[in-house]
Subunit: 343 residues, 2 copies
């Protein structure tokens, strides 16, 4: 156990260089190094000294790693500095009255074993280790708008967000179909997560329209969009009048030199569709409300949450890069330090 | 004056053949012919016998002329029959208690001098001759959501709908810029309709993004979308976080063999945008509410409404085809029979 006041080694995952727009994030865009840190808050500081437990691999990190123009509202990091994203940590020493030693906290933190966090605005106490993307919080507003019997399609359905969206839609009484990128993921959606149907989009790539028509003979009322590209074009053809498309990202389009151009967007007017974009950034402040909602569902086995855990910061670059190739099976986390993990 | 019971000649504009998807509507897709009609309702009929006064040239007509798959909710017509669209007519003989002789009525009617209308569900009494597309009715819900000081962009701004949208936004206290396809139209927007700025998109075609940045250094809060294609892609780059895009059609994309693929749609999530589609079809029942709202504004010269009137059914095919090449200057109408035209 690291003692306050001691100087100890501190492993970090560093961004090597900005990644070119349109390129995939690769392991080699990061490196792991070890520095040292003095486990002591400066006198009178209102910072937090934390020990990192779990880190979340989120697609939004690549916008920062690519230095995307026009990006606002993120915690930025630059080449030579540790990656910074959402995680859960234990407080070693606190300069803020809201937090005390041994509290578990959730917020934006560096990818390193120990951090002196001077900008801890994003932090909140977390009584549990629920690590997935706060994106899903934004979806909660949406859940209340789902009506029993509606036809719901979820892409990237086995991922961090899709798996919950699909299960929430099932709880709301909807017919729910998901798409994913392997037979194993499809099997999980149907047999573990309770989706009505699921399909492997890679096997339907030649005619996604036909695949959707097979599962949605009446059309789609609600599409939870996470991939963009050809799938979105095919979905537009199959939306019902007054349907809603909710998107928190289009992961198929981030890392391609030339994005697929959406050609069926004129149907938005004709079918009177709504397309609503949201990200976690508007919802971070209700993270604890979200936990209050979802944790009982998980404990009572109404909802299953599938996680893919990489162990140790040495494996973090591979885990993050794997998000963009669909390597992860469920929500991708990095376990930085051993800790009991339960809901 | 045509007498009830007489048999008189009846000029009609007939759809010659279905138009291929992706082709522009041309004059030669229609022909004008003259038949005869007996000016008499059948005994006990609940139809209406009407004399056509004005017809509205609306972009949606091409969906029917192209026999677009999946289209619902329209009044269809097929090759060999008259075009059928919105118009204003005078009742010659009424089989419905709500209407009487000499009433002015508004609704879906054939492109012919006289009609026996058996399906008059769309009809309502119109105390005035306000002929433009009912699309604008749907926008009224939107107007209330515009906030003073917001940055508003309107494409196809000199057309039937755009000219009103821009003026309503000005009344709401917004900064309003419009795009149109000629210097003459740009001049009208700035000097007659009170837009803050306007530009000719044909002269900015090489770099629409730069043009928008020139007029919207702070970005766009609200885009009234009517054209789609390259303009939409450029607008997405310039939308502010939480901006709204409202679309009732994308006229640049209807008549091209291969639509422009929208590549910047991933910004919808990142910027938390809303895209809302609507058409007149959800709003026809509030047409008279719309008139109550807009006519006083026109009479008190708070709003100017610019119309382009073709005279006689012989000129109707040219007028309709001209919509798709931007030939019209303001709302395109066909005056079928002489009638006082005022608001």
């Amino acid at each position: 156990m690291a003692e306050i006041g001691s100087i100890i080694s501190n492993k970090q995952v560093i961004l090597k260089h900005y990644v070119a727009a349109g390129s995939a994030i690769k392991e080699s865009d990061m490196y792991v190094t070890t520095t040292s840190i003095t486990l002591k808050l400066p006198e009178g500081s209102n910072a937090l000294l934390i020990k990192t437990l779990y880190l979340s691999c989120d697609p939004f990190l690549q916008f920062i790693m690519k230095n995307t123009p026009g990006l606002t509202g993120y915690t930025f990091f630059s080449p030579g500095s540790p990656i910074c994203g959402y995680g859960v940590a234990k407080v070693l020493e606190s300069g803020r009255p809201e937090f005390k030693k041994d509290d578990l906290v959730w917020g934006l933190m560096g990818w390193e074993e120990y951090s002196l966090v001077t900008n801890s605005q994003s932090f909140s106490k977390s009584t549990t280790l629920m690590y997935h993307s706060p994106t899903i919080q934004g979806f909660l507003n949406e859940v209340s708008r789902l009506k029993k019997g509606e036809y719901v399609f979820v892409s990237a359905a086995s991922g961090a967000v899709g798996q919950l969206v699909g299960q929430f839609a099932k709880l709301a009484g909807c017919y729910v179909v998901g798409s994913a990128g392997s037979e194993e993921k499809v099997d999980m959606l149907k047999n573990k997560l309770g989706f009505d149907e699921a399909f492997n989009y890679k096997l339907e790539d030649e005619d996604l329209d036909a695949a959707l028509k097979r599962y949605f003979s009446e059309g789609i009322d609600y599409y939870f969009e996470q991939v963009g590209g050809k799938m979105l074009d095919a979905v537009l053809l199959n939306m019902r009048n007054h349907g809603r498309i909710v998107t928190c990202g289009m992961i198929s389009q981030y890392n391609v030199p030339q994005p697929h151009g959406i050609v069926n967007l004129m149907l938005v007017g004709l079918k009177r569709l709504q397309i609503l974009g949201f990200t976690h950034r508007d919802h971070d402040h209700v993270y604890n409300n979200f936990l209050d909602f979802v944790l009982p569902l998980i404990r009572n086995k109404k909802i299953t949450y599938v996680e893919d855990i990489a162990h140790g910061l040495d494996n973090a670059p591979t885990a993050l890069a794997g998000l963009f190739t669909g390597r992860n099976f469920g929500k991708q986390l990095v376990a930085v330090a051993p800790h009991d993990h339960h809901y």
